[in-house]
């Protein structure tokens, strides 16, 4: 035995816990109708083009094919706050199991991005724009009694019984629109 075999062990750890972490990178397509020109541009013609009426929601069920080694899912969301005045955008992210061909049991109560703590607000009602927000990469310590409502932003947790399953991350934006959701297993070391 020697350093050569130790390096092989390290390489396998790297492959298992770093390279082959699960991930799902979702661009979210939106209307490319230009409201001023009154024309179909056929492409996202500007950073953060879009619109949403006050109080409206933008909901997406996004599949996440987890791996047996998955545990915490980090998120980065590209979003645009509503261009309406006096709105406070929110983005709720929840985790569900997929069972029997349907989005089934909620397995993480989820997290809530709010403004102005986490999300950009629009002060003059002029533009949507595009911004990014993420969960960070630190696991969350749940209270012993568990949680029954969304928490502050944190990575989503996959219970051990659901690791390797086909899951759904439900992203619901209120007074904001979503341009992309990028999801990935967190790297927590290898042991």
């Amino acid at each position: 035995m020697g350093s050569g075999v130790a390096q092989m062990a390290l390489a396998l750890k790297q492959l298992t816990n770093v390279k082959f972490r699960a991930a799902g990178y979702y661009p979210v397509g939106r209307s490319t109708w230009h409201p001023v020109l009154g024309q179909y541009i056929k492409a996202n013609y500007w950073w953060g083009s879009g619109s949403i009426s006050k109080g409206a929601t933008d909901e997406h069920d996004l599949f996440y094919f987890s791996q047996p080694t998955s545990e915490w899912i980090g998120l980065e969301i590209v979003y645009g706050p509503s261009a309406e005045l006096d709105v406070e955008p929110e983005i709720l992210c929840e985790l569900y199991d997929v069972s029997g061909g349907a989005v089934s049991t909620k397995i993480d109560e989820g997290i809530l991005f709010t403004s102005p703590d986490h999300l950009q607000r629009d002060s003059d009602g002029q533009s949507v724009g595009a911004f990014r927000v993420n969960t960070g990469g630190r696991p969350y310590v749940f209270p012993s009694a568990g949680i029954s409502a969304p928490t502050i932003p944190r990575p989503l947790y996959i219970p051990s019984a659901n690791r390797g399953d086909e899951l759904v991350v439900r992203v619901t934006a209120t007074d904001a629109i979503v341009f992309g959701v990028y999801m990935f297993d967190l790297y927590l070391g290898a042991s």
Binding site: M1, G2, S3, G4, V5, A6, Q7, M8, A9, L12, K13, Q14, L15, K19, F20, R21, A22, A23, G24, Y25, Y26, P27, V28, G29, R30, S31, T32, W33, H34, Y40, I41, K42, A43, N44, Y45, W46, W47, G48, D58, H60, L62, Y64, F65, Q67, T69, V98, G101, A102, V103, A130, N134, G137, G164, E166, I177, G180, V181, Y182, L186, Y187
Partner: protein
């Protein structure tokens, strides 16, 4: 001898296999099982992911129309079941065709739910193939009923992981990347540790390191039944545009060592239309020139710096994958200044790393 593995794997500790340690604690068995596991399971997460806002990726026609097209990397010659999930709405059908080399495989699924519902679909490759990527075409049609269209809100796909044990004999990705599975009964504590085990493990690790990881799958939405005439009509993007420079910056991990060594390759597959002469786009610090229509490919080395903030947050080297914010891209990607845009355009873009 069974090439079995446990899932998730028990990782062998590097601390127990350094010089001076007795060969008694099962690290070699654990490492062998982990290698088998990685061959069967590694990379079986999303290799296709795209979503649309309500009312955008919509088909009102009652005959199949090709709406989406992607390039998908294969993860080995053994993984033959490409499984897809859709969130669909309204009555209609989805027909997916996966083409590897000269062979095509099709799967069709119809549904009638008026509200958003899950559709699962498998395209099964029935002939052995050495192709390292596939082309996936997705056709959609509306069938009688309410509402008057079939709509996709989300599409996701992956190669289904293989179950234990790994098939016997040498396994391959393409024609040259070889993997020799480990017979677990031969690597127990009471067996001699042969030099062959070390040779095979080194080769297997190299092969697994070359297994592709998908970063981006983006397709324009083609063949709407009718062009939109107002803001409430479906008007999805058909081509890559100026606004995608910001939103398609996908955060992915790439080991810094391979970036510095220049041993990591970004595979870029783009479907182009209206190319006359040639056109250049900037991706990750490289300028890529295309001079023909249809699916075109390029292999580039990543040149951009890592995203420092996200790298610190995630304890990994995170790079941004996608069209770059350069002067050239602001000139060649579609904006609202010229309608219709007659110059060359990218209609689909798939990116993966090897």
């Amino acid at each position: 001898m069974s090439n079995s593995f446990t899932s998730p794997p028990t990782l062998g500790s590097e601390l127990t296999v350094v010089a001076g340690q007795p060969i008694t604690e099962g690290a070699i068995s654990a490492m062998s099982e982990t290698a088998n596991y990685l061959w069967a399971v590694g990379g079986s997460h999303n290799c296709l992911s795209q979503a649309w806002a309500e009312g955008q990726c919509t088909q009102k026609g009652t005959a199949y129309q090709l709406m989406l097209s992607y390039r998908i990397p294969t993860i080995s010659n053994d993984h033959y079941d490409f499984h897809m999930h859709f969130i669909a709405l309204g009555p209609g059908c989805i027909r997916s065709t996966l083409t590897l080399g000269a062979s095509s495989y099709t799967s069709e699924t119809c549904s009638t739910g008026a509200g958003p519902h899950v559709i699962e679909q498998s395209v099964v490759v029935t002939s052995a193939s050495t192709a390292t990527y596939a082309t996936l075409d997705i056709e959609v049609k509306h069938t009688t009923g309410t509402p008057n269209h079939h709509e996709l809100r989300c599409v996701a796909g992956r190669w289904v992981a293989k179950t234990s044990p790994v098939d016997t004999g040498a396994r391959y990705l393409g024609t040259t990347d070889e993997f020799i599975p480990f017979g677990i009964n031969r690597v127990g504590n009471d067996n001699a540790l042969s030099a062959r085990w070390g040779v095979d493990m080194l080769r297997n690790i190299e092969t697994l390191r070359r297994r592709p990881i998908s970063y981006l799958s983006w397709s324009g939405v083609d063949n709407l039944l009718a062009a939109p005439t107002g803001p409430t009509d479906p008007a999805p993007a058909l081509y890559l545009g100026l606004g995608d420079i910001f939103s398609l910056q996908v955060p992915v991990h790439i080991p810094q060592e391979v970036v510095e060594q220049g041993s990591y390759t970004i595979h870029l597959h783009a479907y182009l239309v209206d190319v006359v002469g040639s056109i250049e786009f900037d991706f990750m610090g490289d300028r890529v020139s295309f001079s023909a229509n249809g699916w075109q490919t390029a292999e580039i080395e990543i040149q951009v710096e890592a995203d420092d903030d996200l790298s610190r947050l995630l304890d990994l080297n995170i790079y941004r994958i996608g069209p770059e914010n350069t002067f050239d891209n602001t000139e060649v990607l579609i904006d609202a200044g010229t309608v219709p845009w007659t110059a060359a355009k990218i209609q689909s873009l798939s990116i993966w790393g090897v």
